[in-house]
């Protein structure tokens, strides 16, 4: 039996946990609910490690194993297996999802212990993990899409977990509807792929891509663009990012797991998974890089003006995912996945740290009402600080390695504009993250005297310590400069390998068959002559650490040295108001999209539905009842009337039968 046959166990454990907790959670009590909920992810993690160990011995050059559970759909030449793919890329994602997922499940035991519907929370959380694992493990677009929708639904459930609160319900609906827009585009992309390739199996599509799609053709651009729009919905990029900050209405561990570490990175995973397609669409790549870089910068600026501890982190997440897309856009897929992994560590740690603070402050989230908390929360403070340094990109914390790799590739494979967006985003990131740290943990205390802050129990601090350790050391996965030491790069190489030369020659041949003679020699020449420049890389590293330190120093100056200064500086500045109100994007969407739709729906309801549909149904009923009334008048109940009718009818028949026709 091959080890890959264990693959189905990975999503199965959380599913079982979800079913047990969902149906019997209230009866079995909180303790057993916790056990059931946390055992599933941990077991999944162990199985993932087994799969990982098995894949280590994989023979190079042979296709990676897949487990097909059953034929799902078979209609004509459309054939879909319900199968799982175990290759380096999905393994990285599975380890992040189950590993960070397990840690966050354990943390949730402490964070949620006062909740009445404890079991409901864990049932959803397990269900989310199941869907997320389907998403990353599926061996074709349809299984991935099921997971894609599943995580969307679970995200909706968990954002609206506090459903008594109107704002939480609205946020859930907003997240769901905005995601729908992206999902629609994703579906269109899948349809396009089926149309072009006749299959939606990842391996087959990626193998056939260079000989099916013409480089820079409309088909390649449209398909990849549709896929990317799908990714912007799930991964909260411009223009579909507005749901993520609102999603902070959910419980904090949910924000950590779904809205920072795993689900929102699904878009990045999808783009990397389809890298063979994206490599053929340079126009899409440019759009991805611009959207990613733009989002990284744009969201970072908003992060500087928010007062809600979780919202700052939410905008930070949007911004960091922007970096991942920037990396995808310049073709540095390894860097994107690298940043995805390190981001999962430090951002989960940051969210859980903020959850620890919120928990200890009795659900206070406004950083203006915090300050000086580092003595009350020693463990939380240290872990939070480690992760903040990591996200700011200071050597040797994990964020430094991943972010610098992205910036380096943005400059080398992209251009100076991408790099400029990235580096200015990095400055702002360092600034607003340290602003958060200083306002929360340092300075004078602004804590409400009725609130007694206290450090969280061990079940919450232990996950923080683990994640902080990972945030500190995660960078070792991708040591730059020295050839062969970039473990992640070597690991992902077989999945991401793409022979541009062959693809371009194939495109030239296909074009020639249609009578167009185009030469892609220039593209090829350019791609082959981007060399690895060690000294440039070192210079960039030093520069970006300097930029990060400058950001930290600025934050220190404004919020420790001269805390009264920021208030004075920004007072009455229209630019600041613009940023503080999140560039009025929500209001813009509200006016241009939401309101017309609501108005149109209102009209459809009152005119088309009430008058048209209901009118037709009621009209039919009225006509039938009118005719019945006429018919029923024959039934008088007098026997002699019936007899008379019979006689009259008989006479009538006799007359008719005698008539000559």
């Amino acid at each position: 039996m091959s080890f890959v046959n264990l693959a189905f166990l990975v999503p199965l454990f959380p599913l079982i946990g979800s079913i047990i907790n969902g149906f019997f959670g209230l009866k079995i009590g909180k303790d057993r609910v916790s056990w059931v909920a946390c055992t599933g992810p941990v077991l999944s993690f162990i199985v993932t490690l087994v799969l990982f160990a098995g894949t280590l011995f994989h023979t190079a050059g042979t296709p990676y194993p897949e487990q097909s559970l059953f034929t799902w759909i078979s209609a004509g030449n459309f054939h879909v297996d319900f199968g799982f793919q175990i290759d380096p890329l999905s393994l990285v994602m599975m380890m992040v999802v189950t590993g960070v997922g397990s840690i966050i499940h354990i943390y949730s035991i402490g964070y949620m212990h006062e909740e009445y519907s404890y079991y409901r929370y864990f049932a959803y959380l397990n269900l989310f993990l199941f869907s997320m694992l389907l998403l990353v493990m599926g061996n074709n677009f349809l299984v991935m899409f099921i997971g894609w929708e599943g995580v969307g639904v679970c995200s909706y459930f968990l954002i609206g977990y506090y459903f008594e609160k109107k704002s939480a319900c609205d946020a859930g609906v907003k997240a769901f509807v905005v995601n729908r827009v992206g999902d629609f585009a994703f579906l269109l992309g899948i349809f396009g792929i089926f149309k072009m390739f006749g299959t939606i199996d990842f391996t087959e599509v990626m193998l056939a891509a260079p000989t099916t799609l013409i480089y820079n053709s409309e088909a390649a651009t449209l398909i990849t663009l549709a896929l990317f729009v799908g990714a912007t919905g799930k991964s909260a990029q411009i223009p579909l990012y507005t749901w993520l900050p609102d999603a902070m209405e959910g419980p904090t561990p949910v924000s950590a797991l779904i809205h920072a570490a795993t689900m929102v990175t699904a878009g990045v995973y999808m783009v990397v998974r389809c890298s063979a397609l994206f490599n053929l669409a340079p126009l899409t790549m440019m759009i991805i890089a611009l959207v990613g870089g733009g989002t990284a910068l744009f969201a970072a600026t908003i992060g500087c003006t928010q007062w809600d501890i979780k919202r700052v982190l939410a905008y930070s997440t949007v911004s960091q995912i922007g970096y991942m897309f920037l990396a995808c856009g310049v073709g540095a897929y390894t860097a994107a996945i690298f940043h995805l992994v390190t981001h999962a560590f430090f951002k989960a740690c940051l969210f859980l740290g903020s959850g620890s603070v919120i928990h200890g402050m009795h659900h206070e989230q406004d950083i203006r009402k915090m300050g000086g908390l580092k003595d009350h929360f020693p463990i939380t403070y240290v872990t939070f600080l480690v992760s903040t340094i990591a996200i700011a990109g200071i050597f040797p914390f994990s964020g430094f390695f991943s972010k610098d790799e992205i910036l380096y590739h943005a400059l080398m494979d992209g251009n100076v504009i991408y790099w400029g967006m990235g580096i200015s985003g990095a400055f702002i990131t360092a600034f607003y993250m340290f602003r958060l740290v200083f306002l929360t943990f340092h300075g004078p205390s602004n804590v409400d005297p009725h609130v007694h802050p206290h450090e969280s129990p061990k079940v919450m601090t232990l996950p923080l310590i683990i994640l902080a350790f990972l945030a500190l050391t995660g960078g070792l996965l991708g040591i730059p400069l020295i050839h062969g030491w970039h473990i992640l790069h070597n690991w992902l190489e077989p999945v991401l390998a793409f022979d541009l030369e062959t693809a371009l020659h194939a495109s030239e041949r296909m074009l020639a068959e249609h009578g167009h003679h185009t030469s892609f020699a220039e593209v090829l020449h350019k791609a082959q002559h981007t060399s690895h420049n060690i000294w440039l890389e070192i210079t960039l590293m030093v520069f970006s650490v300097g930029v990060a330190l400058a950001g930290i120093a600025t934050a220190w100056f404004f919020y420790i040295k001269r805390p009264e200064l920021p208030g004075k500086l920004v007072k009455g500045q229209w630019g600041f108001n613009l940023v503080e109100n999140k560039y009025y994007v929500d209001e813009l969407y509200d006016e241009t999209i939401v309101k017309p739709i609501v108005k149109g729906s209102d009209m459809l309801w009152k005119q088309a539905d009430v008058r048209g549909v209901d009118g037709a149904v009621n009209g039919v009923a009225w006509v039938i009842s009118f005719l019945s009334k006429i018919a029923s008048s024959f039934q008088s109940g007098f026997v002699r009337n019936y007899a008379l009718i019979m006689v009259v009818g008989f006479i009538f028949l006799m007359i008719v039968s005698q008539m000559e026709f």
Partner: protein, 100 residues
Amino acid sequence: MVPLSHYLILSATLFSIGVLGVLIRRNAIVVFMCVEIMLNAVNISLIAFDRYLNQHDGQIFSFMVMCVAAAEVSVGLAIVISLFRNKATVNLDELNLMKW
């Protein structure tokens, strides 16, 4: 010899009287009697044809009709009696129980 048509005219006349009686009269007993008249009108035509065609099926048929009439009368009178017990009337215009 009396021709067949005379019998048939008599039969038809009696039948029509019966039909009219059923339709016009209100007393359930009289309606019953009219039904009997109709049956016997049919009997006359059956016998007349029997003789005319020199076959004997008609007589057998008329016996059948008499048997049915006797059975019908016994059931019908029982219904009329139970109606009278419930409603204290046999006026058909006051009996419209067959309407829902």
